[in-house]
């Protein structure tokens, strides 16, 4: 009798497996816009690839972007943009990481510092403008992943830093809300920045004479602190400033500071696994209902029933007792 019942149950479960429509199930997906710094300091080769060769921060970031795209669950979307000086350029709005992966891969591989339309680098302004872009129609609801080394050139005057609280995007948001993640690219020790000619061939490195070492823009916040201050002829002092602006490392403190203002988390790029973990946080997830086919589960029950029906551990003889 048990065998007959289990056979009938198996038949019913198989029927379910055939006819069960896709059921709505909640899944976690992520919608990101990757914004990559393509200013000159990103050419610093302070990462190593799998073979131990030196690769630039730019190449490292590109590798990390592809690794993240591969690790995100299907249904997640990734958009791509680059920034230089103060403005971001969106290449495309987010596309599916599974279906459109070939396109993502091709375009990320083609990202290049030579796309830069101007050469300066003002990261806090660029971040501000990117967030402004994020609140527009095209990118609404996506989270920003901002790849940068934090090295600004020429050095900026903190007096003219943008005021993030003006952004509508950041207003009236709960304490744990995040607009995205800043990814610090680069190592902590300083390295030389490669210099290229018009054709894109490397012709050496930037030297101390090539770059300004302190901000000369606008007026200083507190003139009394500037050595040799002359109101008209030397608002920034008359002393020659020497520094290490021709060398570059990741400016973590700075990135963390603007990240705090922009309600973004900070992550220092080391290995891909760490970054993809940082990007799979609850704060960035979208809860979505996706139709899921559970037919296989029903078929598993049918299989169990069949196995029960044919299991060989029955008593060999069943005597019919009077």
């Amino acid at each position: 009798m048990a065998r007959l019942i289990s056979l009938i149950a198996a038949a019913l479960f198989t029927l379910f497996a055939l006819l069960l429509p896709p059921l709505p199930f909640p899944v976690k997906t992520f919608d990101y816009v990757f914004m990559l710094d393509i200013t000159r300091s990103m050419n610093v080769q302070d990462y190593t690839d799998a073979d131990g060769g030196a690769i630039s921060r730019l190449e490292r970031s590109k590798g990390a972007m592809l690794a993240i795209a591969r690790s995100l669950p299907c249904g997640s979307k990734v958009g791509l943009g680059v920034f230089t000086e103060r403005s971001p350029a969106l290449l495309y709005s987010p596309i599916d990481v599974c279906v459109d992966y070939p396109v993502l891969e091709a375009s990320i591989n083609e990202l290049d510092w030579r796309m830069a339309w101007v050469a300066d680098s003002n990261i806090s302004q660029a971040l501000y403008n990117t967030l402004e872009l994020m609140q527009g129609n095209v990118l609404k609801g996506n989270k920003l992943v901002f790849f940068s080394d934090g090295h600004e050139a020429p050095p900026v005057n903190p007096r003219y830093a943008p005021e993030y609280s003006y952004l509508e995007l950041l207003q009236n948001k709960p304490e744990d809300w995040r607009s995205g993640l800043i990814v610090g690219v680069g190592q902590h020790n300083k390295s030389k920045i490669p210099k290229f000619d018009e054709e894109g061939k490397q012709i050496g490195f930037y030297t101390a004479e090539d770059v300004p070492h302190a901000s000369r823009f606008g007026l200083p916040a507190d003139p009394s602190k500037v050595e040799g201050y002359i109101p008209r002829n030397g608002p920034w002092g008359t002393a020659r400033v020497v520094g290490t602006e021709h060398l570059s490392n990741v400016r973590e403190d700075y990135l963390k500071k603007i990240g705090k203002q922009a309600k973004m988390d900070y992550h220092h790029l080391q290995d891909d696994a760490g970054l993809s973990q940082a990007l799979k946080q609850e704060a960035f997830a979208n809860r979505q209902v996706q139709p899921t086919r559970l037919n296989a589960v029903s078929a598993v029950f049918a299989l169990l029933m069949m196995v029960y029906c044919y299991h060989p551990f029955r008593p060999r003889w069943q005597f019919i007792l009077p």
Binding site: L7, T14, L18, G81, V99, M115, V300, V307, C309, Q318
Partner: protein
Amino acid sequence: MNLAFSHPWLLLLLPLCLLPFASSLFERRPCASAELLALNPVTVWLNRLIVATAVISIASLITGIAGLHILEQTVTRTGNGAHIVFVLDRSASMNETFGGKTPSKDEQSKAQAARRLLSEFVSNRPHDLFGVAGFSTQPFYVSPLTEHKTAIQAAINSMETPGLAFTNVAKGLGMGLSYFRDQPHTGSRVIVLVSDGAASLDHRAQKILREWFERYRVSLYWFFLRTENGLGIYSEPDTPQDDNPRVMPERHLHKFFNTLSVPYHAYEVDTVESLQASIAELDELESLPLIYEEKIPRQSLSVWLYSLALMGILLLIAVKLLEKKS
């Protein structure tokens, strides 16, 4: 036909198919003497048939759970279409209206109008491959020639974001042409340059562009989004002194394009309607026979396997019901 499993490790369960050999569907009953039971060939074969049905049912359930499917296939077909690369101007002036003003609430900027119409165009041409390149002062690679329509739409979406710097047509076209480098030559090849300005090309750029257009046999469409009262492609100079590429870059760029050995069409567009009309004309002109690959998505065979299992199990139920009741 290429078959594959989504969860091949589940095939480890396949030995379960052997269960019907180890156990019987029927109750064992005592019998006074085995000799009394005559085994005729029909009985033997019926028994084998019943065991085989059970084996097949279990096996098809397991392969169904393991997700047997036919792999995604590409089929080469011929149709009408083109390989089209959009070379999009991302300079700051694209964010103004055709009147040259910042758009008010119910007006469209040039970029918005172009975006909407191009995106309609893309969705109306199913077999074409599309690529997108952008340029302002520098060119940028946006998306390769691809049949992924959602990605193309996403790239066209980017036109609605703020523009960048200046208009460097030569580099943009160079980037667009480079997309055809490794493409098989089939159907029409088209570059659609969408810009609202022009720039003078130096001799080197002219030589390279001429060479590349010839080598890749790409026809050129120029949608020039003319701002009201601005200079256009067909503007005539007032004085001979003004007839130079610095003063009238549009006129001279048009002259240069006319000297190319490939088909060239220029559309001076100054309203949303005329832009629509010129896109419609492009749609009509560019459909040569095209060999394209159509992807047939992977097909799950689970339904067939479960049906097979269901039939087997129903048969077993019938057999079981016929068993002699005690």
